[in-house]
Point group: C2
Chain length 333, copies 2
């Protein structure tokens, strides 16, 4: 019998379709392989082919926009939003609009074209997390922005248009709808119980352990109770923390460790899948609060999304999270 | 300069990315072609290969599960939900679950394997709409169900696993989150203004005409002001109507005409794209109301959805709706 499960944070119901239960090998799709042929604007020596860099780590004396960096942040060459100008909010009868003001940046995670984030050394991943943090904190000073979105598309099937491993940042003059709902729902829970709903969930998950994939001192990786997608995984700090960008050095070191561990598990169990991850953090100006708990949501790209899933916010997931967690937990690394 | 636009019904902001503006020919993808090779359980003579039929139109004396039908409805052979049993709602600590009870049916739109819905004659499309209606009304008698979802996946890229043209129906014991939000938002608007927000929108759209694609006596096809996807199109009744299934014969005849017209325009302009459509109608038990306006949302499958779009409810659309509406309006049929 399939099961209907409700995500306690978003209120979204999903079908966990046990009849059609799918093992990792049942998903037919291409592994992400790095071909490495052709010109790449993210490789050493091609620094002039991107817009001038905003940030770079690892340089030892060489000038900006030259080789020698370990992590490099540049504006997106084809930005979805423009950085210059006023918001100029306007109505059009029933409708609301404003200028498409925002930042759209690319975080080039390593100069090595052949490597994936999973295979980058832990210190390298930690540097990527520091670059996320530094760019977020800088953009939050721009009073036009309400949210800074960090995400990664890995593999063409997940929407990556260049194969050289990179993440993206979009700073927005609005709080995206899903984020607003998640934060507001957590705030309502806190109002009623004076506890963070994510803290409660983590406590329960660690106690039952069925959906735990891996953990270290400060972080836990788990399959959520009502996942939309097979092998959907969340990475959460064990102690309450409302914003990704407000943490101490040991937190990022710890996160780098568990992120690498999780990516290696996904690669092993799902044969190097395409994936997306998104950092869910508090909106600008609400960073310090007791109700919202920042985390990373990771979605391997294994299935096509059917039409009704777009229109309804209702999902059919062929892999129970207890199963996906077990596969990932027992992965041979 | 790109533009940020807000959908007045859902509150969702989207980027209309004029810098990257895309014309129909800029989307590289496969046309949907019917190959017609291999065994098909939806063709005449193979009726025994589906579960026993629930409904069939067009038979003239022949028995059930034999050839001679024009539209045939059967249970999905691999249903996402089970039809037998009690809901048995339960808590699991913080979490909520229930048995996966529901109906999952397939509406086979024509016995002709070679035809698409766009190319089916108007009377045939009208029969398909009647089958939707009849199945919805029947399932609404089952007190376990709160919503009946009708959708169509056309083409493999849109999630269709069989190429013989068909739609699907899923009856659910819950109201999907997105539907609940849409209905509640329309109810709040009505409470404030005593007008239907969709009626207001249709009036404004018909007056400005920029985003109108086609219309007939009772229906209008338009590109919404803040579409998530390029060439997203909505089909709405011009007069207020809160439920798809509560209409008179001339309404379905009219809808069949405009639906065919719209599908032919999409085929012409986008070179037979894969697409999804979903009927948005009022939940069971709230069918007659002044605030919600049923409609069909149609999404050609032209782009990959990036990671952050999943996690945020925030979309980047490279084609302004005024452009897509113009292309579809001016299509040579």
């Amino acid at each position: 019998m399939p099961e209907l499960r409700k995500d306690p944070i978003t209120g979204r119901w999903v079908i966990i379709s046990t009849d059609r239960a799918k093992r990792p090998t049942d998903f037919s799709r291409d592994s992400v392989d790095i071909k490495g042929n052709g010109f790449c604007p993210f490789c050493y020596g091609n620094e002039s082919k991107t817009p001038p860099e905003i940030l770079a780590y690892g340089r030892n004396g060489s000038g900006p926009n030259t080789p020698g960096w370990s992590v490099r942040v540049v504006p997106n060459k084809f930005p979805a939003l423009g950085i210059e100008g006023e918001l100029d909010r306007q109505g059009e009868g029933l409708f609301d609009k404003m200028n498409g003001i925002g930042a759209h940046e690319v975080i080039i995670e390593t100069p090595d074209h052949r490597i994936t984030l999973a295979n980058l050394h832990e210190k390298g991943i930690e540097e990527v997390l520091w670059a996320y943090r530094e760019r977020m904190n800088d953009l939050k000073n721009d009073r036009r922005f309400r949210y800074v979105l960090i995400f990664k598309n890995h593999g063409e099937a997940a929407g990556a248009s260049l194969e050289h491993t990179h993440s993206q940042l979009i700073a927005l003059p609005i709080v995206p709808k899903r984020v607003r709902e998640e934060v507001d729902s957590a705030a309502r829970y806190f109002q009623e119980k004076e506890r963070c709903i994510f803290c409660d969930m983590i406590r329960q998950e660690l106690a039952t352990a069925d959906r735990i994939i891996a953990e270290n001192e400060r972080f836990v990786a788990l399959a959520p109770y009502a996942p939309r997608f097979p092998f959907e995984t969340w990475l959460l700090p064990k102690s309450h923390s409302s914003a990704f960008e407000n943490n101490d050095a040991p937190v990022y070191a710890n996160l780098a460790g568990l992120l690498k561990d999780l990516l290696l598990r996904l690669d092993a169990v799902l044969n190097r899948p395409a994936y997306n991850y998104i950092i869910h953090t508090s909106p600008v100006g609400e960073e310090i609060n007791e109700h919202y708990h920042w985390h990373i949501e990771m979605m391997p790209k294994l299935t096509k999304v059917a039409g009704f899933e777009w229109g309804t916010g209702f999902y059919i997931n062929p892999t129970p999270p207890e199963e996906s967690a077990r596969f990932l937990r027992e992965a041979q690394l």
